[in-house]
């Protein structure tokens, strides 16, 4: 409550970066508390069930329990984390951690308790982003903090829909901050731990592998191999701590089966806006055209969202996609980045490479969830304020990916919340980036490492205002049209479609959102690929 800070001062009210970042966090925490009673997805019950099963069952049964349909399918560290939380839960309300009686429990205690755990676990995000922005100038710091800590996507996914992404991405950022500082061993260690929290982060593992191999373990046979041993030992011991007990119990097969449920289909129930949306649509389109031309095309029996049923392919014409194909495609897409990381492993580019890796995983992966876009949008904000081009790309990408999360909150009560979150984010970004880049004198006054270099390249050291203006933050006409289109898609889905078509084609608005956002994400992928290829 009210701190006794009534001694009003003429000078600045305590303004060290640490105080400021806490201020950002606390403001967001207040909003998060206010969101407690809003809608929660089944993920809320999933995590409650995990609290219950880790609390009331011995370790040996964690990955076997079937009491609830929401079985444990995260790696052991996350289970340990839930075990840790369940200790407090049992103190507050024993019913939360009761395996049977707690099923679908939704009293205030459990809602508040789980909400508070998400808010508190976000502290790792705070630590991560602070580590990454420690050496930036004050203005840029605040801009980035507002992008990360007040990210509308985290609000939507973590605090309404319910998950612990802020916590996990925080760990990723901590790992990145170690890599940027050159403390590779710690970076590798934290990343290994992250993989044992949530294995979906493994998409970036190839980049980590190549980077650490070249940056940490290279140079001389003796030094190299000893470092390789140290790194390998560290990573292995992390995995041993996580999976060791289950290995000892001989349950490792069961754990793996739970972690990788390949029985699921290529796409999630709501298609994530990725490459496969185009693939499916072109299949449909081709089938439609051929049918018009009189070719007999069978309508596929299987659906691509459900699992692989027997041998039947969900596609009419185009070839069947298997998990292996998606795996190879992700690796192929990653290869330019891996090549760059091999040739010139620079700490200051590692964030971009990791972001690119997660983008590839999102675009070409198997059964990708739309929430996975968080994995690259949040880390990307760290580099968003480096150049106007970065800012422009980030502006578009974060709006598109936040918009693609809209279908997650489908109830009327949350509609204004998600719209306001996105609007607020856009206006903060827009005014922030404009203030950062369009104000010629300001940019010249506080040039930091990267911007300065760029400025020097362009020979605008003398800071002729026109030159700076040209490089300022402004959207091109294609971007503008695309964003206006986003509004049109939303109006169509919310208003015109129900009015004009009623209940017919009820899936169409969602499909439209997927397809439209997929264009944006594809653009972002190509932009990133290009910037990685042309980078020195």
């Amino acid at each position: 409550m009210g701190k006794p800070k009534l001694s009003s001062k003429q000078d600045h009210n305590s303004c060290s970066p640490k105080t400021t970042i806490w201020w950002f966090y606390l403001v967001s925490a207040c909003v998060k508390v206010l969101l407690f009673p809003s809608y929660h997805s089944t993920d809320f019950e999933v995590h409650r069930n995990w609290l219950a099963l880790t609390h009331s069952l011995p370790l040996s049964q964690w990955y076997f329990d079937n009491t609830s349909p929401w079985t444990l399918d995260y790696p052991p560290f996350f289970a340990y984390f839930e075990r840790f939380l369940s200790f407090f839960a049992s103190l507050i309300d024993p019913k939360i951690v009761h395996l049977q009686e707690g099923l679908n429990y939704s009293s205030n205690t459990v809602v508040y308790f789980q909400g508070v755990t998400v808010v508190l676990s976000d502290l790792s995000l705070l630590y991560g982003v602070y580590g990454l922005t420690r050496n930036m100038d004050l203005r840029k710091q605040k801009l980035i903090w507002s992008l990360v800590i007040w990210s509308p996507m985290l609000f939507i996914v973590d605090h309404v829909h319910f998950q612990y992404n802020g916590f996990l991405i925080g760990i990723l950022l901590i790992s990145l901050s170690y890599l940027e500082e050159g403390r590779d061993l710690m970076g590798g260690f934290v990343f290994a731990a992250l993989l044992c929290f949530k294995h979906l982060f493994a998409v970036a593992a190839p980049v980590y592998f190549v980077y650490l191999l070249r940056h940490y373990c290279w140079g001389g046979v003796l030094r190299g191999s000893s470092r390789l041993l140290i790194m390998g030992g560290t990573v292995a011991s992390v995995f041993a701590v996580a999976f060791g007990p289950f290995f000892y119990l001989g349950q490792i097969e069961q754990v793996i089966r739970r972690l990788f449920p390949f029985g699921r289909g290529l796409c999630h129930a709501y298609w994530a806006p990725n490459f496969w949306v185009f693939y499916i649509m072109s299949d449909k389109g081709l089938a439609f055209m051929l049918r018009k031309l009189g070719v007999d095309i069978k309508t596929p029996a299987a659906s691509f969202t459900a699992g692989l049923v027997g041998d039947s392919s969900p596609f009419s014409i185009l070839p069947q996609i298997s998990p292996i194909v998606t795996f190879i495609m992700v690796l192929l897409a990653l290869s330019p980045c891996l090549l760059k990381a091999w040739k010139n492993p620079q700490p200051r580019r590692i964030s971009r490479w990791i972001v690119y890796a997660y983008t590839c995983g999102f675009l070409f992966g198997w059964h990708v969830h739309e929430k996975a876009s968080l994995h690259f949008v949040i880390p990307l904000s760290i580099v968003a304020a480096q150049t106007p081009e970065d800012a422009r790309h980030y502006f578009l990408l974060s709006i598109v990916s936040c918009y693609s999360l809209f279908p997650l909150l489908f109830e009327a009560q949350e509609y204004p919340i998600k719209v306001l979150l996105l609007l607020l984010h856009s206006i903060l970004m827009w005014s922030g980036f404009s203030a950062q880049f369009n104000d010629g004198t300001e940019t010249a006054r506080v040039p930091t490492g990267y911007t300065k270099k760029k400025l020097d390249q362009f020979g605008s050291k003398g800071s002729s205002n026109a030159a700076l203006k040209r490089r300022g933050f402004a959207l091109g006409w294609i971007e503008r049209i695309y964003l206006v289109g986003l509004v049109v898609v939303e109006i169509w889905g919310q208003l015109l479609h129900p009015l004009l078509l009623g209940d017919k084609l009820a899936f169409a608005p969602l499909m439209l959102i997927s397809i439209y956002c997929a264009f944006g994400i594809m653009y972002s992928w190509i932009w990133q690929l290009r910037s990685i290829v042309i980078s020195v």
Binding site: M1, G2, K3, P4, K5, L6, S7, S8, K9, Q10, D11, H12, N13, S14, C15, T19, T20, W23, F24, L26, V27, A29, C30, V31, V33, L34, L35, F36, P37, S38, Y112, D137, L138, R139, K142, L143, A412, Q413, P416, I417, L420, L421, L423, L424, I427, L428, S431, G432, S434, A435, Q436, D439, V446
Partner: protein, 519 residues
């Protein structure tokens, strides 16, 4: 938005130390962008609070204010306008009968139409008594949200535009800070969007009236203030200030009588327009008027931090005096306590003095008038928030105790979580890193000293915890409430004493300046 642009031009911009400011980039694009951003945030907060339960949720047979408002919508859209205030077989006035002036009834009518369009069951006559549903709650919440967006927010923009439209050194971040304090007033948000009421409409009109007076548009101010008064009779708390300020101004004009006549005409015109459907007979006017004066409800309700309730611990007013004499006593006390500020405004009307007069007169009503509700603290809080820039620390002190005074009420509504979240948010915004807080002579310090203030703060924090976690002794079931109310009462008295003194002190520096000029 061009108002914002105008403002930008007339401002003397100060950018020093912006690097430290949390929202340095927000103020770069001019006040319009700043306002839009803060308004979006304020709206988000309101929507989020509205997900919490309303007063009387799932609590038959009487439910709470939410049911009252819903019932008014039901009555107004189903009955002819003349029967709205009349007890009849289809309008049982003992069940949440309309007891606000006609403008509230019209507003209920419009919102009732909105509800009927989307969810007819929620406002059908008789059948919808105690109606509670997901969609019903949502639609009701949206009626308050839209009223806020349509009336309160534009009024605040109007006020800020006028208030900062003066030459002098104005820091842009200060404007942003003030907008944030106005739009994120935790008490107002909790009562309107948590507890469920439409204070934003009457308070919004009042802000509009204040802004009109600050920009020398007295006639517009009259219209706005009458609208406010016709939405909630509680706005009469501000009447002495408006009256004395306009009076003082008129007396300074060339033809005072003509000016008064003009103002009177506008007031009468507005009233006539609002009351038109009831003007056909004296009887019907009296019918409505009798609904507006809730004298049968007693001197005070529940536990409210005013003089009568605080002293009733020692003196049982209700037993000592009859209702009629209590009415007289409370009326006299109210008039006497707001007289000094009225006299000051008649003697030397000024914009600053007017804002202080608003605070003082509403405080004297809150502390001494008949039938005060704990929610009425919103009325003194409004001018205090308009004056936030003058003496920020006193404003903060006031908000903290205004919140505390409503704490028992909000706990009953199950709104403890948003209570703490909004109080924390307010404190955070108030103490935003890098925000310059101009030090004015802080009278609270002179009276109390830091140590006492810290002690009081700790005490109030402990009170919160005790109230939430402990049961009162059986002999005194309302012990905690009584302690809270007495603590708040003492602080309110201090604050209003201070602001009365300040208002009177306003005359001094002006004289000094004039003397300087003459020299």
């Amino acid at each position: 938005m061009d108002k914002g642009k105008k403002m930008k031009e007339s401002e003397t911009v100060l950018n020093d130390g912006d690097d430290y400011n949390c929202w340095w980039w927000l103020v770069q694009k001019g006040t319009a962008v700043t306002f839009v951003t803060i308004a979006l945030f304020g709206f988000l907060i309101r929507v989020a609070v509205s997900t919490y339960p309303y007063s009387g949720a799932g609590n038959p047979p009487k439910f709470g204010d939410y049911e009252a408002q819903r019932h008014w919508m039901e009555i107004t859209i189903n009955l002819p306008i003349r029967e709205w205030y009349r007890n009849s077989s289809s309008n049982d006035l003992s069940y949440w009968g309309l007891d606000y002036p006609p403008l509230t009834a019209y507003q209920s009518f419009v919102h009732g139409l909105f509800l009927r369009f989307f969810h007819p069951d929620s406002v059908s006559l008789f059948a919808s008594r105690g109606h509670e549903s997901y969609l019903g709650k949502l639609l009701m919440r949206w009626t308050v949200l839209s009223s806020d967006a349509l009336i309160f927010f534009p009024s605040v923009l109007y006020f800020v535009t006028v208030y900062y439209n003066k030459p002098g050194r104005i820091r842009k971040s200060d404007v942003a800070w003030h907008i944030a304090l106005l739009l994120l007033n935790p008490c107002l948000i909790l009562i309107d969007h948590g507890h469920f009421q439409f204070n934003c409409i009457s308070l919004g009109f009042t802000i509009g009236a204040v802004a009109a007076i600050l920009s020398e548009k007295d006639l517009v101010a009259c219209v706005f203030y009458c609208l406010s008064l016709n939405h909630k009779q509680m706005s009469a708390y501000f009447a002495p200030a408006f009256f004395s300020h306009l009076m003082g101004k008129c007396l300074r004009r060339k033809h005072p009588l003509l000016q008064v006549l003009k103002l009177g005409l506008y007031v009468l015109g507005t009233f006539a327009a609002v009351w038109w459907p009831y003007l056909y007979s004296t009887n019907s006017i009296l019918e409505v008027l009798s609904r507006l004066a809730p004298f049968e409800r007693g001197l005070f309700e529940d536990y409210v931090a005013n003089f009568w309730c605080a002293t009733s611990v020692l003196i049982k007013w209700k037993r000592l005096l009859t209702t009629d004499s209590l009415k007289l006593v409370s009326f006299t006390a109210t008039i006497i306590t707001c007289l000094p500020s009225m006299v000051q405004q008649i003697k030397s009307p000024s914009n600053r003095g007017f804002l202080y007069a608003l605070l003082n007169s509403s405080f004297s009503f809150y502390l001494f008038s008949f039938q005060v509700h704990e929610k009425s603290i919103l009325l003194p809080l409004l001018p205090a928030s308009l004056l936030a820039m003058e003496d920020p620390s006193t404003f903060k002190w006031f908000v903290q105790f205004a919140m505390l005074s409503m704490f028992p009420l909000l706990c009953r509504d199950d709104l403890a979580a948003p209570y703490f979240a909004l109080l924390a948010l307010f404190t955070l915004i108030f103490n935003a890193p890098g925000q310059h807080i101009v030090k004015e002579n802080n009278f609270l310090y002179h009276y109390l000293g830091t140590r006492t203030m810290n002690f009081i703060l700790c005490f109030s924090a402990i009170l919160h915890i005790v109230y939430l976690t402990m049961h009162p002794p059986e002999k005194y079931p309302f012990l905690f409430e009584a302690i809270i109310m007495n603590l708040c009462f003492s602080q309110f008295v201090l604050i209003t004493l201070g602001s009365n003194i300040k208002q009177w002190m306003l005359n001094k520096p002006v004289k000094l300046e004039i003397e300087k000029k003459h020299n």
